[in-house]
Each structure stands twice: as C-alpha cells, then as structure tokens.
C-alpha cells in the first residue's frame, strides 16, 4: 500500500513539474495557460489520492476529497476568467477563423445579418 502511495505522489509531482516547464517553454499566453492550468490540477488529484492512502485517517480522506473537488471546480473557472480578460490585450495567432471578433462586431453594430451567416 505504501508503494502505491509513493508512485502516485511522485507521478503527481512530476505532472506539476511538467506544468512548470510548459509555463517556461511555450510561446504565447494561451499555450502557457494550457500547460499551467491543467497539468498541476491532475497532479494535485494524484498527490491527494497518494497522500490519503499514506496518511489513512478519516480526516485526511474527507479533507483531501474536498480539496480535490474544490480544485477541479475552481481551476477551469479561473483559467477561463483569465483568458477571457486577456483576450483583448494579448494578440495571438489563430489557426482558424476568428468567430468571436466577428460576433462581437455584429453585436455592437446591431447588424444581425452578420450573426446569421454560416461559419466558413
């Protein structure tokens, strides 16, 4: 049982380290957020399972379950709020058509015909 918790803890810490390396090496803000928001969350889940197996008390089980649920709920919300807030400030190379700018322009100009054209 101890070997399983060791493996889980080291795997979770390795995932968090991968997130840190991605935050250094990726080229723009959204790629960095891709690395920095998702990898440490999965790392936290693995480490929490491993630590709950290692500590093995009811307090540790319940508290770590609550921590995992809170992190799984709050991490995507925080990342979404940050990407939404910084979309205007940070230019990024899109690899597809910019639907969001088109929709916003249509909404501000009250020209609803632009909203109803099919996506290209």
């Amino acid at each position: 049982m101890s070997a399983l918790s060791d493996v889980l803890i080291v795997a979770g810490a390795a995932l968090a380290m991968i997130g840190g390396i991605g935050a250094v090496r990726f080229r723009d803000l959204y790629s960095r957020m891709h690395a920095a928001a998702k990898a440490p969350t999965l790392g936290l889940v693995l480490v929490a399972i491993g630590a709950a197996i290692a500590i093995d008390t009811l307090l540790a089980y319940t508290t770590l379950l609550l921590v995992v649920i809170l992190q799984l709920l709050s991490s995507p919300v925080g990342a979404h709020a940050l990407s939404r807030a910084s979309r205007r400030q940070t230019p990024v190379a899109l690899d597809g058509p910019d639907h969001l700018t088109r929709d916003e322009a249509a909404a501000t100009s009250r020209d609803h015909s632009a909203m109803s054209e099919p996506p290209e």
């Binding site: 920095a36 709050s74 925080g78 939404r84 400030q89």
Partner: protein, 83 residues
C-alpha cells in the same frame, strides 16, 4: 520517495517563478502566480504525507480558496485596466 517528489515540485516552482518574474504581460504573471499556488498546495500535501500526519491538511483548503479568489480578482482587474 517524498524527497524526490519535493525535488520535482521545486523544479516546477522554479519554472512558474520564472514566468512570474518575467512574463511579458500581466496575464503571464498571473499564470505564474496561479501555477505557483498549485505547486504550494501540492507541496503541503506531500509534506503531510511525509510527516504521516493529517494535521496540516486543513491549510490546503484555505490555500485553494485563496488562490481561486486571487486569480479571479486579478482577471477582473486585467479586464478593467488592460495589459
């Protein structure tokens, strides 16, 4: 084995700290701060498993909630202020 986990976490924390100190924009710094908060949370859990006692586990709850509120507040700040 938890010592190895702490070393890996230190490498990851160095990466996020680099992004916090020299991100080109404020959003990059927020990414670094958010990741650093996740690393701190994981490190507290690893230290609790290392000491084999769940007495420091409650601080993790506070750290998760403070990190979420901080990221969201900074996002609102960026949205209003810009860059």
């Amino acid at each position: 084995m938890t010592s190895l986990a702490l070393v890996l976490l230190a490498i990851g924390a160095a990466g996020f700290l680099f992004r916090l100190l020299r991100g080109p924009s404020l959003s990059d710094r927020v990414v670094g701060l958010d990741g650093l908060q996740s690393i701190v949370v994981i490190a507290i859990i690893v230290a609790a498993a290392r000491a084999d006692s769940g007495i420091t586990i409650e601080t993790v709850l506070v750290a998760v909630l403070v990190g979420f509120v901080g990221t969201t507040a900074l996002s609102r700040f960026i949205e209003r202020r810009g860059n």
